[in-house]
Amino acid sequence: MNKISIKDLNLYYGNGANHALHGINLDIPARQVTALIGPSGCGKSTLLRCLNRMNDLIEGVKIDGLVTLDEQDIYQNVDVASLRIKVGMVFQKANPFPMSIYDNIAYGLRAQGVTDKKTLNEVVERSLRSAALWDEVKDRLKSPAFGLSGGQQQRLCIARTIAMEPDVILMDEPTSALDPIATKKIEDLIQTLKQKYTIVIVTHSMQQARRISDRTAFFLMGDLVEHNNTNILFSTPADDRTRGYVNGDFG
């Protein structure tokens, strides 16, 4: 069953000046990990941001085509906030809020009216543990999130998103600032999460895509070149450009 389905999606930045996505067609199956790969600037983040309508916030963005979540057009008659509760997102650049570590994690729940201290404490601890950050910050939950290292901030943002237990989790290079150990933990987390949730991940690491994803889509300059079962895409790519890229002799 497809959780998300993208049909003929075109996206333009700068009021049409920059055609960033060219007629993308992609189905994202439920409870699987779909990886988006491709060279920097090819449109991966742009596509990801279409899935929870984050691009609405950028001025001069024009979108046409169809994106459905559970068969429902997300650009029509949809309450955007509810959509984004269902479709959570971890941004490419860690963006902690100017508040304490604890409040950062509790933020999303509080936004839904959860005020119960016990629930909040539980969720905060659980999320931080899942994101492999708990041990490092458990003694400074009340200190500002800005005092965290780059990788810690990235894990904080992951924890903040999974605290909401969304249906679909969009992750834009969630381990880019992480060391191998932390990366391993996040990858394990993704494997656990996919039993319940649908995950779309942007990654630059072929190894990572191979390790954790069920399906992979390869982008090049705004085009979706090829998408397939991860094993197939990496072993027997249909397109020359894909082969070149995954074998590392492209460009």
């Binding site: 509810s82 509760i85 999303g108 729940l109 839904q112 009216g113 909401m164 237990e165 969304p166």
Partner: protein, 286 residues
Amino acid sequence: MSYTLTRARKIQDTAAKALIWLGASLTVGFLLWILWYILSNGLAHVNWEFVSSDYTSIGEASGIWPMIVSTIYMVLASIGVAAPIGIMTAIYLTEYAKPGSKLVKVIRFCTESLAGIPSIIFGLFGLTFFVGVLGLGFSVLSGALTLSILILPVIIRTTEEALMAVPQSYREGSYGLGAPKIYTITRLILPSAMPGIVTSIVLSIGRIIGESAPVFLTAGMVARIPESLMDSGRTLTVHLYKLTQELYTIHEWNQAYATATVLIVVVLVINTITKLIASRFNKATY
């Protein structure tokens, strides 16, 4: 469990949104009401002759051209003195002084406190100090110096806030490139803080144009085009003040409203020009 938007949240949201619209409507409502009040009474009495001719008390001519000119002089001179001092002070406080130091706190405390001193006290001070002690006499210069002190707190504090809101990562990036401090400030930080600085200037312009007592106590009220900064001049507001304090005839009423109408246009024009000038400095694109 996956969270969904609860009904209660939705209601709260709608309520909050309604409140915001209500607040904004109240403001706009007041604004329209006051504008309508002024324009409906004044517009009919504004004509080219009124705007362009001189003013005499004998009643030969009752134009307001000298007042328009004096007002513009006053704005230029006051902003010319206060803006550099105020902005530089704010720069010193945010970029040079040690963050959170006593000095910063003391200066901030002083400026905020003095912002509440009634303007007439500034006027009396100007009358004693600039007009008297410094011997500048009743002149646009005395007025401008007095008003500069009056608006200084607003410029300092608002600019300071704007500077503090500039992301630290810009400073890091610039200093990391070895850019000199002064270059970083003029080319990166000030342009990024431009919206806040413009706000402070526009608010100050409003203050300069809108004050009466501190102006006539220092710049006087001679209804003639000042030939230099050392001449006395009557601003539009002082003129309006005089008209409203001692209204004798219906003609003076009409004049008062017409003056207020012209004043609004003058404020609009000066604000627009200010923003145009500022936008030329503001190379930063968002």
